[in-house]
Assembly symmetry: C2
Homo-oligomer: 488 residues x 2
């Protein structure tokens, strides 16, 4: 029985759940057995799309991302569907022009998407403008869309505070989001670094500052996730993001089941039925073995304690290691780890999230291997120029000058909205896919991922055969592997 102020849940099993724990490999066919029961469970929203799913479906699974969305919409009719939208990056890794953003957002809404969670890797709120505008257009057309602004939680020290990412920084961002027309606000802790008492303090402040609902999204990565949710619930957070236990914990969201029992008997008690969640989890276990090879089993520990010490997301750390290995310089990892905070500071403290974590990481490696800013990547030059937007803190003036020396677009950084610098691309994409694309969805696959998108369209329309490795694995094959392993 729900309490006076029940905590609401967004279920992430079908998006962030398998993206975080199984490299986004879950196929639509394996989602359908759960979809209707998820719809009836009483979630605030069900996250099913966006993030890496658009990339992985068409690249590795031979699935049409739009078809996945339309199919799920047939089964999930009552509960709002949610997607993660990387602001001007949409579901890709670079800034797209406004015409592509506009077409993408509107077609996604047409296919049945409801809650658009929009974030920007630099927390430059101007990078929300194009998608917010498109969403407001959708509303005017009577589409049932909900605009959620998300801020990336970032740290420059072990706990919240320091020079840049203060409580006031997030509160200010929330207020500006509300003023821009956001229907709700999300504290997005993609690396699982929010500490429980910081969650309490920050959620309390956010609740006091804005009228729109506040949602909290964290990952279990550092092992603090469920404790942070508990303190956020005590601070009055409206919605939290959880996954069914088989796809929860590790680097994914905290699991819903223990939280349901925890809040029983309090005013935050949820009406969601524990037995229903457990039944869904049992069914999820039945298909899970198909994806087990994507589970990271390299370590016994299921949490990443390193992230507590140096605030470097686990994925970023492994990237540094593999870069250094390629350069045959793994022995310099400690130097890189020391350089990294310095490079990050010089580059204006970008949050460490896709793609900024890669950009900062690669530059730190080059700073160590070749001397500081002797080699500068194109991405760092672009960031110095302003192509990704405004960094949370100003860049170091000297470093910025070095980065922009002889830069093709100009030596003076821009101060306008980044996308104002990008030419429209939609017409070119229509041209390039003429005779192959049958609708704007096809065109957008190409517009966002030209190489793998075009290859996918050829598979889709039978121009090229679908390769074996893209086809689903059968449970029989898993059983056979087990039998062989047990005989070794």
């Amino acid at each position: 029985m729900a309490g006076k102020n029940p905590i609401r849940f967004t279920d992430t099993t079908l998006r962030d759940g398998h993206q975080s724990s199984l490299a986004t490999r879950m196929r639509t066919e394996d989602m359908l057995g759960l979809a209707e029961r998820l719809d009836n469970a009483g979630f605030w929203a069900i996250e099913v799309w966006g993030g890496a799913t658009f990339d992985v479906t068409h690249r590795f699974l031979g699935e049409d991302p739009w078809e996945r969305l339309r199919t799920l919409k047939k089964f999930i009719k009552k509960t709002p569907l949610m997607m993660l939208l990387r602001g001007q990056n949409l579901v890709g890794y670079r800034h797209y022009p406004d015409d592509v953003v506009d077409a993408f957002v509107k077609y996604t809404a047409d296919c049945g998407m409801n809650v658009f969670r929009v974030f920007d890797a630099l927390n430059d709120i101007r990078n929300f403008e194009a998608s917010f505008k498109a969403l407001q257009d959708c509303k005017k057309q009577g589409l049932d869309v909900h605009i959620q602004a998300a801020v990336c939680y970032s740290l420059t020290q072990r706990r919240m505070g320091g020079e840049v990412f203060t409580k006031e920084y997030y509160v200010d961002f929330a207020k500006r989001s509300e003023a821009m027309g956001a229907d709700s606000f999300c504290l997005k802790d993609m690396a699982g670094m929010v500490s429980p008492y910081d969650a309490f303090e920050l959620i309390s402040a956010l609740k006091a500052a804005v009228k729109i609902p506040v949602e909290f999204h964290t990952h279990y990565t550092s092992g603090q996730g469920s404790m942070s949710y508990l303190k956020a619930i005590e601070a009055g957070v409206d919605i939290i993001d959880t996954a069914l236990s088989p796809f929860a914990l590790r680097t994914s969201q905290p699991a819903i089941e223990p939280i349901l029992v925890t809040v029983e008997g309090t005013e935050r008690e949820s009406a969601i039925d524990l037995a229903t969640m457990i039944g869904l989890g049992q069914d999820l276990e039945k298909v899970a073995p198909k994806y087990r090879d994507f589970l990271d089993t390299s370590k016994m520990s299921i949490i990443d304690t390193g992230v507590l010490l140096h605030q470097i997301p686990g994925g970023m750390y492994s990237n540094l290691v593999s870069q250094l290995k390629q350069a045959d310089a793994l022995d310099r990892i400690l130097e890189v780890m020391e350089d990294l905070p310095r490079t990050r500071k010089e580059l204006g403290y970008p949050p460490l999230v896709t793609p900024t974590s890669q950009i900062v990481g690669i530059q730190a490696v080059q700073n160590v291997l070749f001397g500081r800013y002797k080699m500068i990547t194109g991405e760092v030059k672009g960031m110095a120029y302003g192509l990704y937007g405004r960094t949370p803190a100003p860049m170091d003036k000297e470093v910025q000058k070095i980065c922009l020396k002889g830069y093709e677009r100009g030596e003076e950084p821009i101060s306008c909205r980044a996308a104002d610098e990008i030419e429209p691309e939609l017409e070119k994409a229509r041209e390039a896919t003429k005779g192959l694309a049958k609708n704007i969805g096809d065109v957008l696959i190409y517009a966002i991922y030209p190489t793998t998108g075009l290859r996918y369209l050829k598979w889709k329309y039978g121009v090229e055969p679908v390769p074996e490795e893209v086809k689903p694995i059968e449970l029989d094959r898993i059983k056979m592997q087990d039998d062989v392993y047990n005989r070794i």
Copy 2:
């Protein structure tokens, strides 16, 4: 820097950590690389012995359990060593006579054990008497021992309360423990069922009721473990039990690392160094692959949500399933799950812990398969007679009468301390091991485990060869397995 009232930690990595996650298989040789650094870390205690380790060392590892203790004591000199003692069951699965208890406790203290955590499966405090008395003798002899009384946390419904296991039940037990001379008190939640707000309420009550330090031991099993620790810390608990992250979570203890960061900046901040813990975890990861085959990977989920629903520990549930499978009656599992609470109530609500969980489970299966109490196990008859002690609630009078009808020891249940019914056994054990046993430790191995104990003594003294399967696995072999698997 420690706060005003720092939370203290017992590290369980070398006992409950691997007992819970790796079937107790960690070998002494792999502990030694960590031992000195653990000793310097600032733990309240380090749990290294007791529980299942005595059984597994001599049975599966070909290791002398006493030798393990003496070896660890050489490396861990400053921090108190802790063991788990099953009251009159010592480190076995049945009640031993007082002479064996006395000799066991005293020899263990001689070998360097400090903190004896004593519990009883029925929470019959009279089953503490013999071991407490032996420990008090040790104190008189100047040995550095600490008596910790532990109560088994048990539930008859989803959350604390109901007819039997109320807050008052635990508080009363703590007061009686203190009066009996316990130096500290432990709330022992072996199935990981304490819910965070119940932890807050119960720990608050315990802290108000007794003067001795209160320790809280839980398991991550249900996914509530770290949240429960957080609320217990807020309620003023003195000590919590954690493991290094590689051997933490799953069915083991919560991990220490995220808790250290969580309490930073509060008055419960610990002086234990995070970087030291992470370094120890990294070294533990290096030996962990040797034991990976003991990790339960049958499910994707790393928590057991079923325990939230029906309060049946995961291990007990799998036992029920395998019993029913053997009887070719797996289709009756739901009936058994329904019968179980009824049978448990009739048997006086024993906590579901070794060995009572097995006793209750087997009887419930027989009740379903053959009719209620048509077949009665010897253990249930013994429990009805009082051989395990007093049950938390009285047994159902009718059921007790049926159980004792024609019982060999008598049809009237006893009301005295259970061990008063058991004849001394130590002299017989000395006789049986004559010519083989070289000290009281050897005799005790036989006294507690006659069959496997005698076999072990023969290995130890070269009377029989040590079989291959008892020898340690090398890391090279793990690498070879990986290579083969990757080629399948």
